[in-house]
């Protein structure tokens, strides 16, 4: 074989191996979830029939139904508000003469390298003093704040690609900046906004440290935080734990599969525009 032929064979083989390595852990989780509850398991094993009672048990008795609901409520509070705030700010920073605009933008970008670890301690004590721990607004505000730098960055980069002439023309027609944004620019901005919404949803759903600390009340925990506590409690019953995990990841995986192009492009170009 020539070098070229060898490479033509190597590429699909290597990629297949990588994909297999990604998929096998998921597969072993799915197989474990289908086993009869309480059975001692060994690695990858063909389930003894298909046992969906683990899912039923995880949903009701183990309380993952309500956990999913709290996660959904948080995401509903975070995603639209954060997308709107980021859109307004990105629009202004890209197309208007904002006083100190460059500095404000730099100040917002600083947030990209602020880890949650450095905000969570005072957030806990301060929100508790305000009576906002264990509440939807408390956690939602903390998440919106954490997500804002990327969103402003993303929407500003998007609005910077809009031709100036379009905005000038709208202004000459007497449109206010508000009308220009919603009537003229929004229709063509839908892909950028959708991508941001998808990223925000996934981040909000997957957030762990903030809900772990800001929500101490077991009844109000989010799904990942609940799963975290559950692993401690149900260490032994692998099928039940596997089913619970699948329930927790189902919403993000579905959103991802549905909007995969948006998600992947968002992560890739979001990273590269920086």
């Amino acid at each position: 074989m020539t070098v070229r032929q060898r490479r033509d064979v190597a590429a699909p083989v290597v990629l297949t191996v990588f994909v297999a390595v990604v998929l096998v852990p998921f597969l072993s989780l799915v197989l474990a979830a289908l086993q009869p509850a309480g059975t001692p398991l060994t690695g990858l094993a063909r389930p003894d029939g298909i046992h969906l009672e683990n899912f039923v048990h995880a949903w009701s008795a183990a309380g993952f139904g309500p956990l999913l609901r709290s996660s959904a409520v948080i995401a509903l509070a975070v995603v639209p508000a954060a997308v709107v705030c980021a859109t307004l700010a990105g629009y202004a920073l890209a197309t208007m003469d904002v006083p100190g605009g460059g500095k404000l933008y730099g100040y917002l970008l600083l947030g990209l390298s602020i880890p949650t670890e450095v905000t969570v301690i005072p957030l806990y004590y301060d929100l508790r003093a305000l009576g906002l721990t264990n509440t939807v607004p408390g956690l939602a505000l903390a998440e919106i704040a954490a997500f804002m730098p990327f969103g402003v960055f993303w929407m500003r980069a998007h609005f910077a690609t809009v031709p100036r002439s379009l905005i000038e023309a709208a202004r000459l027609d007497g449109a206010s900046s508000w009308t220009t944004l919603w009537r003229v620019l929004m229709p063509s901005s839908r892909p950028a906004v959708t991508t941001l919404g998808v990223l925000y949803f996934v981040w909000s759903w997957n957030q762990f440290l903030l809900p772990l600390i800001l929500i101490q009340d077991p009844a109000k925990r989010t799904a990942p935080a609940g799963l975290g506590f559950f692993t401690g409690q149900y260490n032994v019953d692998v099928p039940l734990l596997a089913a619970a995990t699948l329930i927790v990841i189902a919403p993000v995986v579905l959103v991802y599969l549905f909007f995969q192009r948006h998600f992947i492009n968002g992560v890739l170009s979001g990273a590269l525009k920086g």
Partner: protein, 316 residues
């Protein structure tokens, strides 16, 4: 300012009758700038109140000895002295450094190799499906990733089963409970999460590279290894900088994965800064020390990001 605006205000009623507003350009401009600021405010406000101020508050708390309940007492930079000398905190710093190998170096190496292999195949069929699958670990919450891998690494889990199947049964171990293996085992989970992102990032980068460059290199007699180091790697520099920034931040600020897989154990063998901050602040009654550690962590991350971006810009 007041003297120039007052007459104009007085003139306002006239405007209704005479049609076009007699605004001077400077007033219009000032108004427009004020409006522009209003647009930025809804983003600025929550960010300042719930991200920047808490971060500054952490810096303030780091100067106190505080158990979270009784009155804090000011101790200056003592907490920072402890961060620099405490053996447990040092261990955490070492582990975070080791995680960079697993979260950054390995995934980037894997990504570059796979990108190089695919870069020269013109008709890349099925890459969309491959992208989707490789990205999957990136989407799933890290808590779930940790649960999945606890099962893979378990005594009778998938990894030991595979080892037994290929006749290496004597190598089996309880990976996450072993002082030797827990850190690399957790690190490899990080590799598993991030590698797909790096691959997809580099694969999309190679589409930018002109196939003619490869043709020219081959005319000059460059082999695949030479081609890799002289074309693929240098031309993917922007993507490498991005991958490095993202993964170094992920390694240094890791928490979820370790909290669920090992909790920092066995002993302190997988303790990282995130775990210690959590333990000290919310279980250990050492809020000041935890704050100092969080401040140092943030500074290290910021410096790392700046250095990575500098290096990327300088060389390109």
């Amino acid at each position: 300012m007041a003297t120039t605006t007052t007459p104009r205000r007085a003139a306002r009623p006239v405007r209704k009758d005479t049609g076009p507003p007699p605004h001077s350009p400077s007033t219009t401009r000032r108004r427009r700038r004020a409006v522009a600021l209003l647009y930025v405010l809804p983003a600025l406000l929550p960010y300042t109140l719930f991200a920047v101020l808490p971060a500054l508050h952490t810096a303030y708390l780091s100067l106190f000895d505080w158990d979270g309940v009784t009155l804090p007492s000011f101790i200056g930079l003592d907490n920072y002295r402890r961060v620099a000398t405490d053996p447990q905190l040092r261990a955490a710093a070492w582990h975070a450094g080791a995680l960079i190998v697993f979260f950054s170096v390995l995934p980037i190496a894997l990504g570059l190799v796979s990108a190089a292999l695919v870069a020269r195949r013109p008709g890349r069929r099925g890459t969309s499906l491959i992208r989707t699958l490789l990205f999957l670990p990136q989407v799933v919450p890290l808590v779930a990733v940790a649960v999945i891998w606890r099962w893979v690494y378990a005594e009778n889990g998938t990894l030991n089963q595979a080892l037994r199947a290929i006749g290496l049964g004597r190598l089996t171990d309880s990976w996450l409970g072993s002082f030797t293996w827990a850190l690399p085992a957790v690190g490899l989970v990080g590799t598993w999460v991030v590698a797909g992102l790096c691959m997809v990032l580099f694969l999309s980068g190679t589409q930018r590279i002109d196939q003619e460059i490869y043709e020219a290199a081959r005319m000059d007699g460059a082999g695949p290894v030479r081609e890799f180091w002289s074309i693929t790697v240098p031309l993917l520099r922007p993507e490498m900088a991005v991958a490095l920034s993202i993964t170094v931040i992920a390694a240094l600020s890791s928490f979820d994965l370790i909290y669920i897989t090992t909790g920092g154990g066995p002993g302190n063998s997988t303790v990282v800064p995130g775990i210690l901050i959590y333990r000290l602040a919310f279980g250990g009654g050492a809020v000041g020390l935890a704050s100092a550690l969080a401040v140092v962590l943030t500074l290290v991350i910021s410096v790392a990001v700046v250095v990575i971006n500098r290096l990327a810009k300088e060389r390109s």
